[in-house]
């Protein structure tokens, strides 16, 4: 994919600045998780630098170097995961990006579907919040008037 480079390259290839440990610090993910993301294909072509770096620097056992680009992607992945997007869907999304422009519409659709889910989730949470509020109010009332509340288990 590219020749032995220490520094810069054709723009779509960038030897990263960050070791896995630094990425752990910046993202809050564990090194395990970072490697796992790579294994499953959620994050490909993390550049390498190290002892077996013959040819393209991607030999077995060589060390990962994450680029700013990689960090951006991880941040995006993090947001999506935080909103409950399944890893499988992220994978589909990542795959589509790799396939290029033809998948644009599908990617957008995936995001729009997900947005809808997030919106629904928010409104679910808000309605549950009302129930919790009510319940807490019940406890507060009972504390004021040493009375009994309705709930019980059995």
């Amino acid at each position: 994919m590219s020749a032995t480079q220490q520094v810069t390259t054709p723009e779509d290839y960038e030897v990263g600045k960050y070791s896995i440990g630094e990425v752990v610090e910046r993202t809050g993910l564990t090194a395990h998780t970072l490697r796992w993301y790579e294994r499953i294909g959620l994050m490909r072509h993390v550049s390498r630098q190290g002892p077996r770096a013959g040819g393209d620097g991607n030999g077995r056992g060589s060390r990962r170097r994450y680029s700013d680009h990689d960090l951006d992607w991880l941040e995006f992945v993090g947001k999506m995961r935080l909103t409950g997007m399944p890893v499988a869907d992220m994978l589909r999304y990542a795959e589509m990006i790799r396939l290029g422009d033809e998948t644009r519409a599908a990617r957008r659709e995936l995001l729009e579907d997900h947005r809808e889910e997030v919106r629904n989730r928010i409104s679910d949470l808000q309605s549950c919040l009302l129930v919790i509020d009510y319940k807490i109010e019940t406890y507060a009332d009972a504390e004021r008037s040493n009375d009994d509340e309705h709930s019980q288990v059995g």
Copy 2:
């Protein structure tokens, strides 16, 4: 909340009206899940009715009869689970109810803590929503001007 009893008993014991199948229909839970909830202690003393119903109707192999009270509890559990309260916490809560009035304050605290988490969750989701919106907008822009977007995987 519910006092609609067909067959009445000493007040804290009520033979339910609903078979497990009916509860499945009403709650959307599976029979597996209902039995599992009972096994783990999230729901105790579901009354029984059946062949081996000697004495208290709770012999092995006899059939469950859920009361309106049980349905109320399941509904509450459902709300809490929907907001992401771990089953373990629900279990603690259920256990505290069993222990009676002395646990009131602790129960209230548990709910208040959970409320806080739900609120945080909602605001997380809302901020992620902005990111998703932005991303979708990027796709929409690109569609308009056939340009390239910043994101890629590797």
